[in-house]
Subunit: 458 residues, 2 copies
Amino acid sequence: MPPATDRLLASLPTDLPAVERAARIPAGFVAAGATAGIKASGNPDFALVAAIGDPVPAAAVFTPNRFAAAPVRLSRANLQATGGSAHAAGYAKAVIATSGSANAATGPAGDADQAAIGEAIAAALGTTPQHVLHLSTGVIGTRLPVDKVSATIARVAPGGLTATDAGLDAASVSLCTTDSVKKSATVTVQSPGAGGGMVAITVTGICKGVGMIHPRMATMLSIVLTDATASPDTLRDLLRGTAAVTWDQLSVDGDTSTNDTVFVLASGAAGAASADTDPAARDALATAITAVARDLARQQARDGEGATALITCQVSGAADDVDARAIARAVIASSLVKAAVHGKDANWGRIAGAAGNAVAAEAAVLEAAGLTPTEAQARAAQPARVDPATLRIAIAGLVAYDGAKGGPTGIDKAAARIAMDAEEVLIRLDLGLGTGSGEAFGCPLTEGYVKENSEYTS
Amino acid sequence: MPPATDRLLASLPTDLPAVERAARIPAGFVAAGATAGIKASGNPDFALVAAIGDPVPAAAVFTPNRFAAAPVRLSRANLQATGGSAHAAGYAKAVIATSGSANAATGPAGDADQAAIGEAIAAALGTTPQHVLHLSTGVIGTRLPVDKVSATIARVAPGGLTATDAGLDAASVSLCTTDSVKKSATVTVQSPGAGGGMVAITVTGICKGVGMIHPRMATMLSIVLTDATASPDTLRDLLRGTAAVTWDQLSVDGDTSTNDTVFVLASGAAGAASADTDPAARDALATAITAVARDLARQQARDGEGATALITCQVSGAADDVDARAIARAVIASSLVKAAVHGKDANWGRIAGAAGNAVAAEAAVLEAAGLTPTEAQARAAQPARVDPATLRIAIAGLVAYDGAKGGPTGIDKAAARIAMDAEEVLIRLDLGLGTGSGEAFGCPLTEGYVKENSEYTS
């Protein structure tokens, strides 16, 4: 047994501030949740978040799926119209989210439905349709009931909107589909103030996500709000870099949905210095956004369809961070590893096999994570470097494989079974090749996942 | 309902000769299966195939897994030694296959075990260890019992080897692990003879494959034998091109194993003209190898762990074949599509979603399929072109989505449920973009897969 100080046996340090799993609405925003009747269950299915006053800087990451849904295409066009570029960054007054129907693969009729909803929101809030961003989630190929949504808009906007945590919490409930719990995260950090001194800025995220989740861009619906100050382009840069190390490292089932979207909106109401020009303000905002995104991704993985635990894979000692993230992703996406964790089987051979197959992310993700375009192109989809002779693997704190010592350690499978009976199963790999590190989040593959996805259309 | 002549509703023509699902040993080879006692079950676990006389031309495709097992690394080195290049093509006298232990991630001790087995085979058959090729399959991280294997070699080689179909059939049984059925395929076609006129050449393949199967190079163990005439490099070219459209288009669970290998050996005993120099002989051999490989891949998909049916996805009307194969692969690899087929749910939305995520194969596979190195590099991992407005989808012969007609057709789900209650479920996509076509093979995701892979170590 190695000494307890073995870095293989400890979680990677994250350098991130503590996260509160609650919706704390930042200054400058109002929100509401409601029941429009889209879901047959009668559960809440309508969420609206709006900026107080003029439209605020906003940025997005969208699914790369070629079957991108009507709300994705309309939001992309709106950000382009208000931001003046194709960078998914512009200005927004409101975000409308409906659940129960994805409004994906619904053709021109679906586009018209989504546009009508945007017009209704704009009329109710005294803004233009271009300043409305859209989210929708649910069954692919079914139409949105525009009449029900319009009636709900008339009821909620603007009178039902409130600048309280309860309003944002209600919005988070309305995002859910097969989610077993609502999901939110809040971080408050100090930032340089616009007028000198320091001010507190808040970043809050709400999200949904249970299936059709796989690391290719942001893979679910998330809304991140902050009272910090930043331009659309700065928000976009921060969001994309964050997604590359959080949501892009999340997989539930290897399927990337047609509706995945993350929005971030910044009200500037905290009076912080601009993240565009003040490096310390930028760092504070980046750190807070990353902490919120990472925590939401972990909540999404833990609540994966049929999931009974969170699987976190952390990799250190890689040749670089790109390889480390690729390997972590390959491990948590492996059906065999996921099934083994379900069975509390410390099956390190499947982990080694998955690590041996890891390939770097696509160029866009690598660029977002900080590589130059040339570097990103050269590394995209390249195999990650793994040497069986220097690799070490630990499962739930027990060393299972040590390449330098001949490989298999003869792990005590009974002890591992007890250690793996936990809310979070940590799989650690140290590659012994360099200083690269990274992590990824997933969940066990269970009979429940199969049952949920074979017995019901979703 | 479109007319029955709609190309969407028909299977793609394959232009391939008929395949007999039996082991028919080609002239010039002997084979045997035996029980060495590696498996606790006492089932056959030892297979040996040998050329009669001198070593014959041989080629291979190996797993790209960085955790490549000892038999993979030794076979690669042996082909390099006898072929004089790193092209996985050389000369072989025999193929030894053991099942029950993968001899993967076993470190230097595992390498020594495999080398000892090679030496024992060489001594028994009067050849050199470099002319012995190795396969092994089973649990990762366990040692091979060399004493038991050596004792079996002494018993089987050469006395137990036989030039009968029964000998090769016994070898196919010994390859199996959790396979529910043995797998073999034979094709006989006419080829120009070495001395003029036409001769019959036979290509026979035996294989195993049930889990840890995913399209990145050949993904299981297969041995293909022929009495045709070809040099090692020609065999290698034909095998690699074949794998790109057959085994690379097969997925059971998204995991690529540490031991995947396909060998092809050519005895030349049929007296055919050389495939190196006679284009018609090359075509005949290529066609026969492809027919055998395609059929073995279909048998492997159908017998995937927990599988209750074969899923075939065929794509036509793509911008090119690369896109078509990528889309077919994305559909059959989607956990959500696989679960839907298990539930006999004509969930075309999940098929559309999977198609929208398809990305081209890696450069090596694209090169093998006929692209130039420059083309392959440019296309590798690029998104496949799909236009929701021109796409059509049919499931088990029923049109579910027609982009040109507004999208969803309102498929009769009850009728589809009956049509999907079959041994093979055909999913057809026509993209309406060009003339590219391709296919891929997979299986439903069932509770049985989860049970098999969570309750037992494998």
